[in-house]
Symmetry: C3
Subunit: 208 residues, 3 copies
């Protein structure tokens, strides 16, 4: 995806988002192929949108590593889950944490890919936020749920912060790998605080 | 986007669709970033789909004006709305009119972009209708509502009429700017009549 | 779309998927343009996603045959349906069978297009399954229904089987047309059995 961003972090992002897809499939009582499909759509959705918006083929056309990871995660979650049987609430909590990590990773990798394609810094932040949120949006829409991104908790904010920290440090001349790790850390920390402490932004007065 | 279509009309279309996204966020009681996200997805969604279907990168990769407009509209709607506090019904009515104007503008600009890319006239009309309806569809799906486009009022019909008038006049040799304004006027007038007078097409017998 | 796959089969796939879109519009009591829109999105959605993921313009930009077929199917279904008046249940059953045939055809044509674009065999199977399921997913999401693909019946499995049989036979050196027909037959047979005999895969324990 790039010469700078640690590729194992990208695979980790794919794997954790795939896991969130599989956990959603578990909550819906789906069959093994349903697990694989939701895992794949969630895991590769964001990166695919990023490439398409940049006018390029999806990266997994040439290299099937990412969908292969997702399919394995999907089947493994089905197999392990049947014996391990987490509660629905436990599955949801795992989903939230994994989703937060994937969010932070993809926000930065999306922003970096955009910068490498000579996009404007503002565009890079927007693209980072889209890359980070799109897989989860598709996952939730397919499962017939209100997308996490629309709940009042800090979500897009965390993605935008992660992408913004990365783009800012990079533009100030810092090393790309350092800027990337700082961006991932910033995005995940904010999202983690939001999950753990139930933080939210001031919302528009409901019922107005 | 083109040498012919007045670019300020394109920005106006982006802004009014962004406003419909922000008004939807208001009705859902979302936070500021939620306003910005729904505004951006709605405002740039249609034009982005158009470029992607033509096999090109999204125009905002190189020029962030459109997402910048949307983000500003999103934040401004949140800020102003909190003091102004329109009723939910008032917000919905504003949404309908702004949506109708955006619909007419994007139908024509989508059709024109397709013609400039040497598409077949029939394709240009289809692409115009898709450009005009896609942003609103994504807005409504994300907000968990039935897309406006599926309600019985005249909606796709207005987009297709606007695109059709433009393509027809253009093919008959009329000046592009004139054809464009005629198309926007035709599409918006039909949609406005449908909103104001509650017009609808004959529908398939329900319950059949 | 290719030198091998019988193009009339591709048009048949487009037409039957368009029919499923129109039948869904009938069940929702939509107007004629709504029929045309749902028919078009369903009929060309999968093939369009396939081209976009391969980094190419949608094939119907240059050749409007596919959307033209869909629009005709949409209007014809509206016109015929009003006099013929199938029951809702009858419409749903027709939808299931037509959907199964389109699924098998698009799984193979998607996989073949990917192979022709030099994709990895695993990628070809994934792309075949996505091509086959995407149009129906968009149809169901737009209509506000839970996508067929997420119901417990064998669905993605049938698409993956069809694509897999085709890719396997092709890689083993069999003639492309034969491999394609074998893939379509395998995918449709499995899906048909699932519909007729109510087969399903073992699912994740609900309520776990």
């Amino acid at each position: 995806m790039s010469g700078y961003f640690p590729i194992y972090l990208e695979w980790l992002g794919v794997a954790v988002f795939a896991l969130t897809g599989a956990l959603t499939a578990a909550r819906k009582g789906m069959d093994p192929l349903g697990f694989a499909l939701l895992a794949t759509v969630t895991g590769v959705g964001g990166g695919t949108l990023r490439e398409v918006l940049l006018g390029r083929p999806a990266t997994w056309i040439a290299d099937p590593t990412a969908p292969a990871i997702c399919i394995i995660v999907g089947f493994a979650t089905f197999a392990i889950g049947r014996s391990y049987t987490p509660t629905r609430k436990g599955a949801f909590r795992m989903l939230m944490w994994a989703d937060g990590l994937g969010l932070a990773i993809f926000a930065v990798s999306g922003a970096q890919t955009a910068l490498l394609a000579s996009a404007h810094p503002v565009t890079a932040i927007v693209l980072g936020a889209l890359t980070a949120t799109f897989g989860g949006i598709v996952r939730d829409v397919l499962a017939g749920e209100i997308p996490l991104v629309l709940r009042r908790e800090i979500y897009v904010t965390a993605a935008a912060l992660g992408a913004g920290v990365y783009v800012g440090l990079e533009q100030l001349g810092h090393e790309a790998a350092l800027a990337a790790l700082a961006g991932v850390a910033a995005g995940f920390t904010l999202r983690a605080m939001a999950i753990a402490r139930d933080w939210s932004m001031p919302a528009y007065p409901p019922g107005a």
